[in-house]
């Protein structure tokens, strides 16, 4: 359920209906995404997008942390 894909915010603009819309780059493909639910959104952020809406920012530190956790499984 709930296919959601990470993409990078490349620009942010307000539409006439005061909804915050960002252009998001998914590996070379650009689509407009509604970022109303991410109050502190800024250019360069990675967001998780589902049906045209950004659900959350992706935390790069945590993303790295999971990979480290996996690498360290052997030692523990």
């Amino acid at each position: 359920m709930c296919l959601a894909i990470p993409g990078r915010v490349i620009s942010i603009s307000n539409t006439d209906t005061e909804s915050k819309i960002a252009k998001v780059d998914f590996g070379g493909v650009i689509r407009e995404v509604c970022v109303d639910w991410i109050p502190d959104i800024k250019i360069g952020d990675y967001v998780l997008v589902h049906v045209g809406f950004a659900l959350n920012k992706l935390d790069e530190k945590e993303a790295e942390e999971i990979l480290n956790t996996i690498k360290n499984l052997e030692e523990n």
Binding site: I5, F26, G28, V29
Partner: protein, 350 residues
């Protein structure tokens, strides 16, 4: 909260469709059923039963390949091509993969009333250019005009004739376990470029259709190797349908490697975004070659020297398998079956 769970079941949908659905034209199981159930039994003969993209027969000691195809693409112009170019190259490719040199093409139009002459001229010019590039002649044709709404702008039907010159025999019965599978480049570009240009999904990309004539590439490889057993161009239904068709007609299994199949990053992204499987997305300028393993590197290197084959890869091999299935080693090292597409591929949300 209700304590009692009611295990009711799903109502049965209609299983035997009494109407043609879009899925019947999708190049997968529905299309296959249409042929197997209604067409093959009715017209049964020894040439039709070859079930190739081209029929192969002899007249006065000359071996011919003969094919026909219709083009109904929407939109008629798309990044990297248009309906005219597609019609010529699609026909050329069906002949080429039979090992034939394409020579003559017929050209029929069904045009919707009100279609701009300017667009008609543009498509004709595109067709002319494509025939020059592919080195084939248009030698006959027809035009019909139908009332507004009876067809979508313009449909093209072609027939192609090619001559099989060398004593080459491209035939699924020659395929055997151990043969290598070579793919001429990255997959999914045509289908994705069409999807994007229909603009249902508001995506900005620069993905272009890969539509191209494969005859010069095929000519090069049949000149260097007499051990090519089978060729096919993976169009509708994508690479998966193409491989499954070969596996079934050659009565072999296949093992392919996910990490050997090239997919452009942006094509992959759109597939991720819409929940599509790139293995099922259409191509219009790619070649799949089944070749004896002893000639595999020779054919691979020959393909890589051609502009349309520079990204060629050996993506797997034929194996013994009583079910004639296509198996794929995934990137995490497990094995799964790559089934034939069953209907239309619809975007998943979930």
């Amino acid at each position: 909260m209700n304590e009692q769970i009611n295990i009711n079941s799903c109502p049965v949908p209609q299983t035997e469709y009494d109407r043609i659905l879009m899925a019947h034209g999708g190049g997968g199981k529905f299309s296959k059923n249409l042929l197997e159930q209604y067409i093959y039994p009715l017209f049964d003969n020894e040439i039709l039963s070859q079930k190739h993209d081209s029929a192969i027969f002899e007249i006065s000691n000359t071996k011919f390949a003969f094919t026909t195809d219709s083009f109904v693409v929407n939109p008629i112009y798309f990044p990297g091509g248009d309906i005219g170019k597609l019609a010529v190259y699609g026909t050329v490719n069906d002949l080429s993969v039979a090992g034939a040199k394409p020579v003559f093409i017929s050209l029929s139009f069904i045009i919707e009333e009100g279609f701009p002459i300017e667009d008609f001229k543009k498509i004709l010019l595109s067709i002319k250019q494509a025939t020059e590039i592919a080195d084939v002649k248009i030698i006959t044709g027809d035009t019909k005009v139908v009332e507004k709404g009876s067809c979508d702008k313009i449909f093209i039907n072609t027939t192609g004739i090619g001559i099989i010159e060398n004593q080459i025999e491209i035939n699924p019965s020659k395929c055997k376990a151990g043969d290598k599978i070579i793919l001429s480049g990255s997959i999914g570009e045509h289908g994705i470029s069409i999807l994007v240009s229909r603009n249902n999904f508001e995506l900005e990309t620069n993905i272009e259709s890969d539509t191209a004539p494969l005859n010069s590439l095929v000519e090069k490889i049949i000149n260097v190797s007499k051990n090519i057993h089978m060729m096919r161009d993976p169009t509708r239904g994508g690479l998966s349908s193409c491989l499954n068709e070969i596996a079934q007609s050659a009565k072999v299994g296949m093992l392919i490697y996910e990490d050997k199949i090239r997919i452009r990053e942006d094509v992959k992204s759109i597939c991720e975004l819409l929940g599509l499987d790139p293995l099922y997305v259409a191509n219009e300028g790619k070649l799949v070659v089944i070749v004896d393993s002893k000639d595999a590197d020779l054919v691979l290197n020959t393909m890589r020297q051609h502009p349309l084959g520079k990204d060629s890869q050996i993506i797997g091999e034929l194996i013994e398998d009583q079910f004639n299935l296509v198996y794929m080693k995934t990137i995490i090292g497990t094995t799964r079956i790559v089934d034939m597409i069953s209907g239309e591929q619809l975007p998943r949300i979930c």
